[in-house]
Symmetry: C2
Subunit: 157 residues, 2 copies
């Protein structure tokens, strides 16, 4: 199963870039993973929250293919633990999922239409994290999930 | 109020080091913050979990002073949101707390004696994160808390 993390917003700070690469390298023996940063057109940069969300929505929806399985990260989503993440990934692979998209919304969250399209909505924490840090947390957690599925000693809880 | 993050374990990977410095720099105009990495003596490195926890316990307890306010991070702790973190810090400052210690346990969590000494036990998430990443998450979240207390636009939820 190919995994793509989609994240709306700016390019990574160097430490985030390095950290994401660090966990992607560790994940590659187990599973294919990529980060795609979706940047809204600069001229549309706006302080109008509703309009910004619509621009993001268009960016995401036109990129999504019908066979993509979509997990959206949102504070109001389901909080699973690390073992449950692993189980969910296993289940998707068992169902023959080819491409899993994990979407991190922009600074103001994702639009209702994107949430409607989502197969699942997950939450990392009750805390709010910056989107760049979420990319890194997500890279680590996907690595952890595949470590669990492959009985690597990385995860001990 | 001076804040110290205490973390048992290895020195930081370079991207964690850089990221922690990034958020500490941002926090400094608001509040004093430091990271202390507590390294168990190398000759005591052990695969015996209970013994490792005792070594860590000793390391922590002998460093703690009676006037230190201690918050321990543990998966089974209370999950607060970012605004609640800010409120808790404000309350501690109002009570005249001089030094707040936020403790990240070692790979196998903290001992019962350390938990007993803790004034509070908080959880970041239902997910398990590596301790180095927790240092970074914590650095960001303390910055976020003080941004909230200072009405900076950094946090919008």
């Amino acid at each position: 199963m190919h995994i793509e993390i989609w994240s709306v917003g700016k390019e990574n700070e160097s430490f985030i870039e390095e950290g994401v690469r660090y966990y992607f390298q560790k994940t590659k023996p187990y599973n294919s993973i990529e980060l795609h940063i979706l940047q809204p057109p600069k001229k549309l940069a706006t302080t109008d929250v509703e309009r910004a969300k619509l621009v993001e929505e268009e960016l995401i929806l036109k990129r999504l293919q019908t066979q993509h399985y979509l997990i959206v990260l949102d504070e109001r989503g389901k909080q699973l633990n690390s073992v449950q993440w692993a189980q969910q990934f296993q289940q998707l692979m068992n169902q023959g999922t080819k491409t899993l998209i994990i979407l991190i919304g922009g600074a103001y969250g994702v639009s209702e239409n994107v949430k409607k399209r989502a197969n699942q909505v997950w939450s990392l924490s009750a805390l709010v994290f910056p989107h760049q840090l979420v990319r890194l947390i997500l890279a680590e957690q996907v690595y952890r999930s595949f470590s669990i599925l492959n009985n690597s000693p990385y995860h001990h809880s």
